[in-house]
Amino acid sequence: MSKDLVAEKSNLIKVLQTEQKKEGFISDAAIERIAGEFNLPVVEVEGVVSFYTQFKRVPPGKYQIMVCDGTACHIIGSTLILNWLTDELGIKDGETDEEGLFSLESVACLGCCSLAPVISINGKVYGKLDRKKLLKIVADFRKKEAAGS
């Protein structure tokens, strides 16, 4: 074995992360291509992809909503937040709406517990939410989208 410890296969996760950053998700074609590059069976790459929650197999919406379900958010009411969003957007946890505008995902912890309950949209965090604030945020994104198109 080469003394350089960062042997090729160790970079599989990194390559998948780069792919996802570029495309937003990992397609079947990407899995086949990457398996070829690493000289690995397709099923092994698929196994790695399905193991880690970071990797998505469906294209995300233009606005990716993450609902924090960390402990602090949970006890303060993140379940209600997720329900309200499901009602408002018509999609469940893990889904993308038909127009490809919003996708909804419940995540373990965004790490801003003092602002609980929080969501993030494309990485920007919105904290201390109640129903009114939450619906206004969604409405604002919709307005912005309508104005833009």
């Binding site: 074995m1 003394k3 410890l5 960062v6 042997a7 296969k9 160790s10 970079n11 599989l12 996760i13 990194k14 998948l16 992360q17 196994g47 790695v48 193991f51 880690y52 929650t53 970071q54 990797f55 379900d69 960390g70 402990t71 602090a72 949970h74 006890i75 303060i76 009411g77 209600l80 329900n83 309200w84 009602d87 373990a108 912890c109 965004l110 790490g111 801003c112 517990c113 003092s114 602002l115 609980a116 929080v118 965090v125 904290g127 109640d130 129903r131 009114k132």
Partner: protein, 573 residues
């Protein structure tokens, strides 16, 4: 005269809106220098701005990105001044976080100007054995939760004769509600790296990895900048040989906090744990001897070597020395990151530092999904590894969630089991299926369909999962259930025997009711109900109602509330 203006730009600050404040301040500050710093730990007061002047420092809290407010800050007006509350100042002991939020995280000069890399300098002149001995003298125990003596772990690696040895920093902080390691890496990346380089000298490792959660982009960025700086300065040269340091991003799997799973993930594989022995110090990354320490453990090392192990051991208790970082959150006034001496009581942290109202708290949850709930009557227990274990909780990595009287403990236990069930890697049957069965049982109980036999089943399953699981995830997964069974058995019994959830949290055990006497018939609830279950004369059809609380939230006169299913009705008071 203003020397410079510091804006707290760690993740929590950014989340609270520090980015907008920074941008506007940069426009307005004229010749004054505006810099980004890390986190001082007072999350509840974010965004924080500190102005350094010739005549002392001024800190401003909850700063909004408004021109008139920021002008007041630049003029040093009496405005929104931040004053840490005195009980916290008295009880806290900032040793490893003393520079957090005070210096620019990615400035090597500033870290050096504050005794940074003095520990490494000293270590480079010491024999490796002497460094290991110093760490042993300090009695430092692993801060990731396990509490294994760091010096002992290092001595195993140091004793190995191998062409290559590996030292790994475990920064896969996956507990929901924990952000100690993130803060250290974001605010003090050089301190973590200094600890690792000292470890390299002590153990003979020449390849260093930091396995960091992918959800921490700022930590990764700051670490990479710091690594570039030390490589440029040659600080990574040990015994004439450059040490390789590399940040590897995880991809979201809680089990990768377990050391053998972490190594598999570093190798680019699925992060499943394996049977130990052989321990990583015998057979680790690609078969080479490897040692894994937590971020906070490494952050302690520079202080131990610089000021001596004995000096370090003077803080804390006999068997748990030094300080511990806790991420405080939940039902309290002052949430944030706090560093306390080991041996402080839980009550001091919850009431004095956290500002929780005595009498309003029924428990704390320590250690996340691997930990347990400790009831208020045990709040005089000192925080050290052994006392917490004896109560059925664990030190864990340092998440500490305060649970108020109005929360349901059964639902809290269900929440943690849902997490571990999802995160179980599936290798061991007891963990994979056992946690699933436990979750289903808890769902029966919170769903109003549980019986007394379910409570017994939980206790039985819990014991077996602990015995039948290979790694720490499975061995600790039942803790949240077993500790609530032990201390809040009455709540379980109320659910299964009376169908009653005192906290009104379990949907199946509550109805939603409109008090017609208070109601002003404004129609808001009818308009906002997603399932149209409220009639024109303001009666809720609880068969259709999903308990989404939309009507409760919009009601302007608080006439709507959750009530016990089929029980006596009283609203609002």
């Amino acid at each position: 005269m203003i020397k410079r203006i510091k804006v707290g730009m760690a993740s929590c600050g950014i989340a609270a809106g520090a980015g907008e404040v920074l941008e506007l301040l940069q426009e307005m500050a004229g010749d004054n220098k505006v810099v980004e710093v890390g986190c001082i730990g007072h999350c509840y007061a974010e965004p924080l701005v500190e102005v350094e002047t010739d005549s002392g420092d001024y800190i401003f809290e909850k700063v909004q990105p408004k021109e008139e407010d920021l002008q007041k800050i630049i003029d040093l007006d009496e405005f929104s001044r931040f004053q840490p509350h005195s009980p916290r100042v008295d009880k806290e002991r900032q040793l490893i976080t003393s520079l957090a939020g005070k210096i620019v995280p990615t400035s090597l000069e500033e870290y050096r100007a504050n005794k940074g890399y003095e520990g490494l300098k000293k270590a480079l002149e010491m024999e490796p054995d002497a460094i290991v001995d110093e760490v042993k003298t300090s009695k430092l125990r692993g801060r990731g939760g396990g509490g294994f003596p760091t010096g002992l772990k290092w001595s195993f690696l140091a004793a190995k004769d191998s062409e290559q040895k590996v030292l790994i920093c475990n920064a896969d902080e996956g507990d929901p509600g924990a952000f100690m390691d993130r803060t250290l890496m974001e605010s003090l990346p050089h301190q973590v790296l200094e600890g690792m380089l000292i470890g390299a000298k002590a153990t003979g490792a020449r390849q260093l990895f930091i396995y960091c959660r992918a959800e921490y982009p700022l930590a990764v960025k700051n670490l990479n900048i710091a690594i570039e700086q030390i490589e440029k300065e040659g600080l990574n040269i040990i015994d004439g040989e450059p040490v390789k340091i590399m940040v590897k991003e995880g991809a979201g799997a809680f089990v990768c906090g377990e050391e053998t799973a972490l190594i598999h993930s570093l190798e680019g594989k699925r992060g499943t744990p394996r049977y130990r022995p052989p321990y990583p110090t015998d057979y680790g990354f690609h078969g080479y001897p490897s040692a894994i320490n937590n971020v906070e453990s490494f952050a302690n090392i520079p202080l131990i070597v610089r000021d001596g192990g004995e000096n370090f051991a003077a803080t804390g208790t006999e068997n748990s020395t030094g300080t511990k970082l806790f991420a405080l959150a939940g039902d309290l006034e002052y949430s944030g990151l706090v560093e306390v001496p080991m041996g402080i009581s839980i009550g001091e942290v919850v009431y004095d530092i956290g500002g929780a109202e005595p009498g309003s708290v029924k428990a704390v949850q320590i250690g996340g999904p691997s930990g347990g709930c400790i009831p208020a009557e045990h709040f005089d227990t000192p925080i050290d590894y052994d006392s917490l274990t004896s109560l059925g909780a664990i030190m864990g990595s340092g998440g500490l969630i305060v649970i108020g009287n109005n929360r349901c403990m059964v639902e809290t236990a269900r929440y943690f089991l849902e997490f571990t069930t999802r995160e179980s890697c599936g290798k061991c049957t007891f963990c994979r299926i056992g946690t699933k069965r436990m979750l289903e049982t808890l769902e029966r109980i919170t769903g109003g369909e549980g019986g007394p036999e379910d409570v017994e089943l939980l206790a039985d399953l819990g014991k077996k999962i602990i015995q039948g699981s290979l790694c720490g995830l499975g061995q600790t997964a039942p803790n949240p259930v077993l500790s609530t069974l032990k201390y809040f058995n009455n709540e379980y019994l109320a659910h299964v025997e009376e169908g009653h959830c005192a906290a009104m949290e379990c949907k199946a055990l509550v109805d939603v009711f409109i008090d017609r006497e208070t109601c002003i018939e404004c129609g808001q609830c009818i308009k906002n109900c997603p399932v149209d279950c409220i009639s024109e004369d303001y009666v809720i059809d609880n068969e259709i109602c999903t308990r989404c609380n939309s009507c409760i939230e919009v009601c302007p006169v608080d006439a709507i509330a959750r009530v016990a299913k089929g029980g006596e009705v009283s609203v609002g008071n």
